[in-house]
Symmetry: C2
Subunit: 122 residues, 2 copies
């Protein structure tokens, strides 16, 4: 992206990256790239972590907010957060004692647009 | 679903199943269910198969249309199609010699809505 402003989702400049798969078949490279992102979403704990981050007040969550709801250890949570970060779904930053996480909206929008369903199909 | 008509996507009766994760955190059961669908999407060949089916003329594709573009064997394609079907992403029907596949739009819409990005987040 050439400027620091984030795109308004659904605008024309996003179309090239987010063509719904009902409109045209995916190329090999795009499929490899997207499959990695879907793999990061293929674990229930990671999905819940992502949704906790995404829905957290202010759009970001401290790692200290993310361990309570789960029956898994802190290192396991950290591992899942790393997978989400490496898949390009969340960003993170250390501030003092804690690491903060936020979702990367362009990544979510890319997947969401890809999966847009056909209105008239059965 | 109580009738044979498919829902028009984006209508109110779909909202309960498709709340964006930026709006509220996912529950455990929903996360387990959705993770299975994302797992089906976590393979590049399956993603390309799904997109070939989804974008095929008439909204459905014969298995005979789906083997040509891939460097993998027919049994491998059949296995991937089975995974997509078991995840609830495609439907299928045998007609004469061939099996035909189509995407299930409500499933795609559910995932697409779940991943809708926050417009104002960073």
């Amino acid at each position: 992206m050439s400027n620091l402003e984030l795109p308004v989702l659904g605008q024309d400049d996003q179309v090239a990256c987010c063509t719904p798969m009902v409109r045209e078949p995916l190329g090999e490279d795009a499929a490899i790239d997207l499959a990695k992102m879907f793999k990061a979403l293929s674990d229930p704990v990671r999905l819940r972590l992502l949704s906790l981050i995404a829905s957290h007040e202010g759009g970001e969550a401290c790692v200290c907010d993310l361990t309570g709801p789960f029956d898994v250890s802190q290192p396991t949570i950290s591992h899942h957060l790393k997978v989400l970060r490496e898949a390009g779904l969340v960003g993170s930053e250390r501030r003092g004692t804690w690491v903060y996480y936020w979702v990367l909206p362009a990544a979510l929008a890319r997947l969401s647009s890809l999966l847009q369903a056909p209105a008239g199909a059965r």
